[in-house]
Amino acid sequence: MTLSPTSFDDSLFASGDSLLKNASDDIPEKIITVILFSCAFVSVATTFGIVGIIFTETWGFFQEVSLAQFFLDTRWTPLFAEARFGIWPLLNGTFLTTAIAMTVAVPLGLSSAIYLAEYAKPNIAAILRPAVELLAGIPTVVYGYFALLFITPLLRNFLPLEIFNALSAGLMMGIMITPTVGSISLDAIQSVPRSLREGSFALGITKLETIFTVVLPAALSGIMASIILGVSRAVGETMTVLIAAGSQPRITANPLESVATLTAFMAEISGGDSPRGSLSFKTLYAVGAVLFIITLTLNIASYWISHRFKEKYD
């Protein structure tokens, strides 16, 4: 016997076994898996870090300032001798500038998305889309500069604006957020199948009517998600409002006046040297907690809407 079938099988099995060993039991492979997992874990640690730190300091804040003071008082003067901690003026500033930004970003973003998806020739859309998205790549201090030193002086020819005002800051923020609304809406509109449009055209419905009655309703979840994400970005934007809207915490609906947003206050009070444990340090984190909760809620809502209400076409 030169080669018995069993011994042949055995040798094959043995070599196969050692191959399997190489693939799964090798020490370096295991080390690599652990290293890569730790990389992924950094993001989890970041979240825990943010949540943990913000809420520890905020807890400390509420040991010194009552919840009633924070939510019922209408004045925000934490650095005055007679300190008042009503959060509403800051929320007012944030909501006012955000509202102005969205009045700009929603129509501009949606019309860009509709034009690129439904009207533009592919080669022109290939140039226009990245051009619009450039707006999102510009550092936000630059928008602040432009709002304060170009838009405000320009508008003061027609309107009795204060030097720092919610209007200019909001308008520039709107331009800045246009690509956020536009890109996500564009993806949503493009994922509406062509057959839906053709069915509508076959019924004698014009292109525009098809867009409003078929395409946009079908893309609604993505569009809503893009708008909510835009709101979240506006709420969290710091430099534009800090530079152009000022730091005057007040309750007003007048866009011509100076306001202070949550973020502008935070940027102003910090500077790396407010000592840890001081009330001003804790105030920074308490305002940060409000900001974090608002943006997190918006982000989750956006994610939920885009996944839960997504129309599926197979």
Partner: protein
């Protein structure tokens, strides 16, 4: 037969045709409205660029602007500490965030089992990408300034920016890795390669153009970010080159500091600094495009 005289019939047809023409006309009007909506954004962009060039170009070209330290006088001095600060920050962000980001993306795409906790990590990364940069500043202030006791130094700012850019890097690198065809992996396994050998020799080289794009997008964002650095404690006036464990400044902070000065000629210095910052971001993107072309042609 009810009433179908030829007259009413033709009247109906005419009315219907008229309305269709009107509807098409309205459609045309809206087409132009949508186009105008798109062009407004581009118009503002053009206006902004021209305005900044107009305000800043002369100041940018004054001798010494790039290589001198700042001065109390608007038309003297330069922005060297800010340029060096931003270069350091960008370099550290790349050194820290890119390996971690690529590692995390590789884990989630190639290794992670389908389980509830991997879904949780994914949702978590999506949410982190939407956290405002000033909140990252709060994290950096507590962890790097106080917990690790680095104080308001360059390393605190750089690590904060690294955390800020991590989610975007992970998301874009994952897309690049997902785009690598499975046939490549199977062919490599078929030749007896281990998982890591497959990743190292086939998946990563194939995904490099996409990875570079993601890295550049997020590093550009980090270099342009001011809010988190304000919280961590960048200074608005610095007369020496920042070192790793020294107080620091960066281009966006320099711009902010110039804008807040009352004298109007500081606005020119701000605009000149904006030009430098945008050129820095553009050249980063140019490098990325060049590398992308090179690697795409290899594969």
């Amino acid at each position: 037969m009810v009433k179908s005289s030829p007259t009413t019939d033709s009247v109906d047809t005419i009315q219907f045709n008229d309305r269709l023409e009107r509807r098409e006309a309205i459609g045309k009007v809206f087409e132009y409205l949508f186009l105008i909506g798109l062009l407004i954004g581009l118009f503002v962009l053009a206006l902004l660029v021209l305005n900044i060039l107009h305000d800043g170009l002369a100041r940018l070209l004054t001798p010494g602007f790039l290589i001198e330290t700042p001065s109390r006088f608007a038309d003297r001095g330069g922005i060297r500490p800010a340029i060096i600060g931003s270069l350091y920050l960008g370099l550290i962000v790349i050194l820290v965030a890119v390996p971690i980001g690529v590692g995390a993306a590789l884990y989630l795409e190639e290794y992670a089992p389908k389980a509830w906790w991997t879904a949780l990590i994914e949702i978590n990364i999506g949410n982190l990408a939407g956290v405002p940069s000033i909140v990252y500043g709060l994290l950096g202030l507590a962890i790097f300034n106080y917990l690790l006791d680095f104080g308001p130094t360059l390393i605190s700012g750089a690590l904060t920016l690294a955390l800020l850019s991590l989610p975007v890097i992970i998301v874009t690198v994952r897309e690049a890795i997902r785009a690598v065809p499975d046939s490549l992996r199977h062919a490599s396994y078929g030749l007896g390669s281990t998982k890591w050998q497959t990743i190292q020799h086939h998946v990563l080289p194939y995904a490099i153009p996409g990875i570079l794009t993601g890295v550049i997008i997020s590093v550009s964002r980090a270099i342009g970010d001011a809010a988190s650095l304000v919280v961590v404690g960048a200074v608005s006036f610095l007369t020496f080159n920042p070192g790793l464990f020294q107080r620091f400044m960066a281009l966006p902070i320099q711009i902010f500091s110039y804008i807040t000065r009352p004298e109007p000629s500081f606005a020119n210095a701000a605009a000149a600094t904006i030009i430098v910052l945008i050129l820095l971001i553009l050249s980063l993107n140019a490098v990325a495009i060049y590398l992308r072309q090179r690697y795409s042609s290899v594969h």
